[in-house]
């Protein structure tokens, strides 16, 4: 999702810098950070929310509303919570593809696609059903449920960018 040309080093640098910026901030300060050159200039902002040990950071351009994104993060987290039933960090680590799917249902190519939690869950469920049926074919029925889980490709969730320039800031790994 790195729509601008960036090499791996820049990517890592952004992650590091974002983490550095965000993790230093107290609880009682605002959730917005104005962007440096790394994330594409001052027009872009980092908007983050802090849940226990996790930071969810969105990088947005000026066409997004700050508070709107703040609530979008909330929707995202609530959706995760519903999908994983009491989501915890490990869910995100091991089921990163699911996390990505959920995110892709909310934000597509940098644009907010869906903000209704129920809609998102319906879409995700539809895919899960398909997985299950596939898994049913592929694996022994007895192991179906756990196999599905096992086959899910665990990865750490990445951060998302919403905005025209579609920078995806994958920084959750470093926040953990």
């Amino acid at each position: 999702m790195w729509t601008l040309e960036r090499n791996e080093d820049t990517e890592q640098q952004i992650i590091r810098e974002t983490f550095h910026l965000v993790s230093k901030r107290d609880e009682n300060v605002c959730n917005f950070l104005e962007g440096g050159m790394l994330i594409g200039g001052s027009e872009n902002r980092l908007i983050y929310r802090h849940y226990a040990t996790l930071y969810f950071v969105f990088c947005v351009d000026s066409s997004e509303s700050e508070l709107g994104i703040l609530d979008l993060i909330q929707v995202f987290v609530e959706t995760l919570d519903k999908c994983f039933e009491n989501v915890c960090e490990l869910d995100l680590i091991f089921h990163v593809d699911k996390v990505h799917n959920i995110l892709a249902e909310m934000v597509m190519g940098g644009m907010v696609l869906e903000t209704n939690m129920n809609e998102i869950i319906i879409q995700v469920d539809a895919q899960n059903k398909m997985e299950k049926s596939e898994a049913g074919i592929a694996g022994a029925p007895a192991r179906a449920v756990s196999a599905v889980k096992n086959m899910n490709l665990p990865e750490m969730p990445r951060n998302i960018n919403i905005g025209d320039i579609s920078i995806k800031v994958p920084n959750l790994p470093s926040f953990k």
Binding site: M1, S63, G68, K149, E155
Partner: protein, 1105 residues
Amino acid sequence: MSDVVEKTLSALPSLLSLDSQAGAGKLSPSSKLGNLIKGITELTSKHEEETLIKKELESIKEQVASPNTTMRQMKEIMVRAIYCEMLGYQASFSYIHAIKLAQQGSVLEKRVGYLAVSLFLNETDEFLLLLVNTVLKDLQSTNLIEVCMALTVVSQMFPKDMIPAILPVVEEKLTHPKEIIRRKAVLALYKFYLIAPNQVQHIHSKFRKALCDKDPGVMTASLHIYLQLIKENPESYKDLTGSMVTILRQVVGGKLPLDFNYHSVPAPWLQIQLLRILAYLGKEDQGTSEMMYDVLEESLRRAEMNHNITYAILFECVKTIYTVHPKSQLLEKAAECIGNFVLSPKINLKYLGLKALTYVVQQDANLALPHQMTIIECLDHSDVIIKRETLELLFRITNAQNVTVIVEKMLEFLRLTYNVWFIQTMNSVFSLGGDVMQPDIPNNFLRLLAEGVDNVEDRQLRLFAVDSYVSLLQGETAKLPQRFLQVISWVLGEYSYLREEESDPGSVMRLLARLLDQRHTSTETRSWVLGAMTKLCSSPVYTAIYWQNLHCYSTERHWLYKTKCLSSLFKLYLTTLIFEVDLIISCLSWLWCCFIPQVDSSLSFLDGYVSDALAAGAAPYKSPHQRQEDLVQEKALSLEPYGLSLPVSLSSCSITDRRSPTLLSMSSGLSGNSTELSHQEGSTTLKLEGVKRVWGKDGYLAQQQSAGETPTPLVELPSPLLSPQSPPSQKPSSGLEPDQEKRQLASSLFVGLGSHNSVCLVRLPSTVWLFIKNCQSANQSNVVKSLFKPFYINSCQSALHNLLDSTTVASEGGAATTTTPQQTSQRTLDHTTSNGNPHVEGTEQRVEAGGPLSLIRGNGMVAVVPPRDLPLTSHLPAELSGLARSEFTPLCSDQDSSLALSACRVYKEDALVLLVFISNNNDSALHQMVLQLTCKELEVYIFQTGLNNKVPLFFSEIPVGRSRNQDRNTRVSSNRDLEKPRIFCESFRNFCSPPLTVSTGDYGKMWLSFSHDLKQNLRLVTTEHQEPLTATLDALKGKLHLHVVDIIGSEGIVACRLLQGPGQGQPCLLHCRVHADSLAVWLRSPVPELPDSLLYHCQKALTET
């Protein structure tokens, strides 16, 4: 990063073991990914992580290359590869396999393949071309999920050149029966539009169709496109305004299905989007704007403040209202809304409030006025982001009056946050702005640099400054502006020691010396450089270079420069006396030799200046005795062998300034003229016509004159030399600890100097020290006078002069003469001030002549000790006795204290009454007394309550009227035929009566409009039964008659204004906040000197309590 991962994953092993038992949904510990993660959690160092990941990548490489690997296995391998990439290790060999997986896998595997592709690759990657066919195939699939996946990956990344290949298929999807597909297709097309606008030109009509889609989700998606289109070209889409307004009205009106509600707000994101679109449409277009007023109002009204998301809508609404063609009614409501943001305790909302303000003040700067207190608080907010936004806001409201203050704030901010950046920026500001910039800027810069405790950060900042300057000086210096060079020299002089350890100690010295060499360096700058070198020469290594340069440059023709050399020499003489006597002696003699012949004894270069000054009304030169006196001083410094000349230079140092009686008597009169005395001086004496105005016995007095014509920099030169940074061994005999009072006095006097006086380029405390040291041997009151006369008189235009409630009983042309014929000789209490004319000597000498008798200047902060405590209270006239009044202040008395003047102020409701008491402390009665009072501004009336020997007398602003006199012992004849009796209260001013009464709201407005400010911490007054803040403010109120506007919690606001004088009626506002044990006071006023002065009074008042 591994540490962070580690931390989170440290709990993993136990969890994994739990999982294996429960088996529910968590990863099986036997899986390869599980092992990888487990491995990572057990790592202890970055190095280990590297080894582990390298090993993992090797194994992945092996597996992907194996033909036996199934797609299912490949999927897991991909996930591991993603992990490695995520940790920052390249797994480029797996990219091709990710594409293969997307091509060949089943739906589930395909998805992982697409995910891996979207994470691994970027838009320009050639691998993407391999993906095109896969995407095309999937788009045409009957499986909805495959279509969705394909659309998703297309919107994430797709090679620009291949768009035509899939465009028709994507377009087709716009009519797909499934709503989710249509939505994704719209967004994919939007993506195409962004990366290749030309390719999708022909489908604009289809966008319009999407906008009218029966599904609101599709419509929402299409708004992304329209936002972009309208932003780029609003004119072409004006016809959509109606539709947008209708949509918004429906949304706001709750016509959407409940599904779209978020926290019971209907489709907030959609509303935000629509409001943005409307803003673009209605911008600078009255007709379009009028269409949307209603719905905007409706939006404002509907948005109840109960959730973040409603604030988001409100914020958008406010922005839209201020963007479209203005409608006053709406603007008002929007402004109200901004208030809700700004005043919100939630920091996010405050931030947005500031943002909104920043946006709206561009149209109407007054909108910031109601929120100024909040803005001021935000300036000190702990959150850098808030601070930055506040500065942005301030930047938008910058005007000619407050630019200095705001720039100062910005500099402060920069210094606190971005040290290196700050220095670099300032360097470029100096290099570019150069000599045209306001003197404030270098002043403030140096102040910022010098301020603050000596902590690591400050030191780093300074060190960085020094380093950057050294490298600058090593380069080409010819282009650097003089002012920048001055700043550089000062900083190098002060802080070079910070880099000593790491470099050749002489290098800075040599660089400075090189600067001296260069032709383009101005004389003033050379003085700075020399000053810096002097500071550096505490070490012998430097000294050698220094001497060389002194040798070379003492031949400089400019007398200013010579003076500098000489004062440097003096300092050296004192600091290096012990170990380098020989060298110095030789150098001095050498210097002297080349100095003397070059003295332009007629000082012809000053002729133009002198004639200018004379034409401007300055008094002609006189009093050569002064120079005689200076020669005496030279003797004190053992400089006789060379000491026959150069009194001018020496007087600048005035290290042992003493007065002789002859001097006093000679220089006292205004009428003295130089020719009369010149013959006494002998032929060696320089004729220094006009110079008298420049040099006084106390040192340099040039500041009294208009700063432009005279070479003012002189006064600043000695300062760095004697600043605390220089070796402490200097001048052990001079008082290194001026008493507290003086320091306070000095600080309050000079603290604001930098804001209007270019002279003060050095750190202020240094200046003060210098003065005090130099005046050590003079008596106390002289110290004070020398301190502030040049300063105040210089600013006689301004209100400062009047602010001091110093009382000068004076007259024009020597009136106010009290004669007591009973005495054998006539005794005169004659206080002459030449009424604003900066003629210092006259005043001083008069005072001297009277012995302890003294003028009260500067609120009697002068150390004039009252002869005795006067029990004058009982003499207060009845009608005034009940009113608030100041202490009795003795003004003066004659030699044996038989006759004394004292005064106090009485605050009446409508006037300030100045009471002057004349008291006879002698046993013998006064029989006759002629009192002549002359006053320009005040009307006088005279009371007499002659009680024995005491003759209280007072006068006020009340028009001349009654004159009660004649009692049995004393006769006072008001000598009216000379002039209307008046007391000239030249500088009796006060802040208070009547107090400035303002409301909190007005206060707020005034606060923002004032540009001169000052911050200081004051002592808190503590009493038993009151809050410290209240007690302190009450004390101030009582003493200074300030008006306490409001006290809220730990903060209080206070107002006052100048009573009279040029700045009459000018207000000064104080904002007080209790901060730990002190009271942080922030003063603001339209008059530059007012805060300084008021602050001094406050300090004094609080010290007295």
